[in-house]
Amino acid sequence: MATTTMTMAKALNEGLRRSMEKNSRVLLMGEDIGRLGGVFRITDGLQKDFGEDRVIDAPLAESAIVGTAVGLAIRGFRTVCEIQFDGFVYPAFDQIVSQVAKLHKRSDGVYTMGLVIRLPFQGGIGAIEHHSESPEAYFAHTAGLRVVSCSTANDAYWMIQQSVEHDDPIVFCEPKSRYWEKGDVDLDVAPAGLFDAVVRREGTDVTVVGWGSSVKTMLRAADTAAAEGVSLEVIDARSIAPLDVGTLASSLTKTGRLIVVQESPNTASIGSEIVAELTQRCFYSLRAPGLRVGGYHVPYPPSRIEDDFRPNVDRIMDAVDRVMEFA
């Protein structure tokens, strides 16, 4: 088994490279992704190796990046669009929601909207405004789209390839604060299906669910909780839409307590969806109400104070204390 160690950024780069090698109709398109290799260098070297026709440096217009990818999909190409930062995706929102999500349906299945919209998301990098947002719920709400997120280098390497191969449009959320963290990548076998949640740490008292950057925070909270005698089961949701409800429900049936950790505001969020869905499915197993540890109902704050907005171990532990107090 070939295993190698690399950063998440490099794993995405290698995953994209492998996708392009496997299928000559895979294209990359985005701002500054060619010669520069992307502002995060995710596409570093790919234009040099695959040419300007396949790694397309786009004019600066997000709606057009996605809108032309739709036309390319109709022509039978698979385009991986890079949106430079989460907060810049909104000019493309119309194309994503009105066209990408609906053209398969509107064409009675004739058009395949096999395209990927890569979205560096979440905060924690000390950036200025519009560079740290978590807009995943906007897309999860829209039928026709699928939304996934990687939290490790291995997942990054495999999930980007699985997304490119998938026939439905995928919003691929990359936790930019974890781009430079290294992990083992298995070059031979995918760790799980694209829409599978994965238990990162087994436990018995509380099910803690998150995705992207939150996974590492949850694992640290699990260490802290263990020291206090509380056993957290940490689940990386990986697929935000659809949710792998089966995996989450079987954990909750065991623990009876649920906490969702997310960087987006809690209002009308993925965390809200998870709590509602699992409350329905596991009502008689619950020992406490499901809680959300997320952002406040404010615009993402200036990054000097972002650590007071993003979930951290202390806030997760507060929630753990609360659910443990019930029974």
Binding site: G71, I74, R75, D94, K105
Partner: protein, 353 residues
């Protein structure tokens, strides 16, 4: 409406106009076939308006007055070209072979599409203004990458010309020299908003501003529209890049059957444009120059009548879709929420309790 910059090959009276750049190469039979297309599409349009008034359609977007723009452009397409319409391009859809009843499915509210876009090489209707222009440019970029000699034609109106997507599509088409032709039907009104509010300069002037040619053509002159569009498509197919065509025309009817144009425009303006009718001028030419017989026109009218009656029958036969069809083709691959929804609705429809 004599405008030095307007390409016109046929006056409203049906007399030929000499043009230094464009010349009609069509035979009498071909011109007659254009006439036939325009008469049929107008008759089908009128039938559709009646169907809406009788409660058989949720909505209809009339094409009256714009038949020459749509038939001229639609007939200029080569079989392998691909077209991306907005929601009023019934004439173009007709030229592409889309069955009239399929055009009405969206207005009957039994679907959000209506036809197989790959079969007719004519995309499904796009209701959000301007979205389709970016799809056309992307498709054209795909044509380039396939090394194919095909062109792409996309339609929008003077109202949509203000949309960011349309302007972004101009930028991209120019940057990538995409084989796409932008066909703007300037019908003077975006519902109640006059085109002067959308642009302080003639719309076709925007082409050069973005780095490609812009042409204004008399949109009520089917010969001119055909020649201008054909040249632009020919040019795009061989790597000449995009063209913006502004077909200067007029929406004789309402924006849709939900609209009341008497609230925002005067009858005298409409009357002026009725004298520029796209069908009458071709008929005059056919009589004067090609000695077309009354019986030939009668035959077209009879054919249009037959098609209109068939359209009515076809529409009335469109029943309520199976409610379960709402779950079809939302995703290409299996999806748990689709499966759940199907089951829940099946139970409700089955009258479980």
């Amino acid at each position: 409406m004599i405008d030095d910059e307007l390409v016109q090959l046929l006056t409203p009276e049906g007399e030929r106009v000499a043009n230094t750049e464009y010349e009609s190469t069509l035979s009498g039979d071909e011109i007659f076939s254009f006439y036939r297309d325009m008469v049929i599409i107008r008759r089908l349009c009128n039938e559709s308006t009646s169907l809406q008034r009788q409660g058989q359609l949720a909505l209809w977007a009339p094409v009256q007055g714009q038949e020459a723009a749509q038939i001229g452009a639609g007939r200029a397409l080569a079989p392998m070209d691909f077209s991306f319409p907005s929601y009023r391009e019934h004439g173009v859809a007709w030229c592409r072979g889309v069955p009239p009843e399929d055009m009405l499915r969206i207005f009957r509210a039994v679907t959000t599409g209506g036809w197989d876009p790959q079969r007719y090489r004519h995309s499904v209707p796009t209701v959000v203004l301007g979205n389709q222009t970016l799809h056309a440019v992307g498709y054209a970029m795909g044509v380039q990458r396939d090394g194919a000699e095909e062109a792409v034609l996309t339609f929008f109106g003077d109202g949509a010309s203000s949309q960011g997507d349309v302007l972004e599509s101009f930028v991209w088409a120019a940057s990538f020299n995409a084989p796409v032709v932008f066909f703007c039907q300037n019908n003077q009104w975006g519902i109640s908003t006059p085109s002067s509010v959308q642009s302080r300069i003639p719309l076709y002037h925007r082409g050069p501003g973005f780095g490609f040619a812009g042409v204004r053509v008399d949109g009520n002159d089917v010969l001119a529209v055909y020649e201008v569009t054909k040249r632009a498509l020919d040019n795009a197919r061989v790597g000449g890049g995009p063209t913006l065509i502004e077909a200067f025309t007029y929406r004789i009817g309402a924006h849709t059957t939900s609209d009341d144009p008497t609230r925002y425009r005067i009858d005298a303006e409409v009357e002026v444009w009725k004298h520029r009718d796209p069908i009458e001028r071709v008929k005059s030419l056919l009589v004067r120059e090609f000695r077309a017989k009354v019986t030939a026109f009668d035959e077209v009218a009879a054919e249009a009548e037959t098609l209109a009656l068939k359209l009515r029958d076809d529409v009335l036969a469109m029943g309520r879709p199976d409610p379960q069809s709402m779950f079809d083709d939302v995703y290409a691959a299996p999806h748990p929420l689709i499966d759940e929804g199907r089951l829940e609705l099946a139970e409700l429809l089955g009258g479980g309790r």
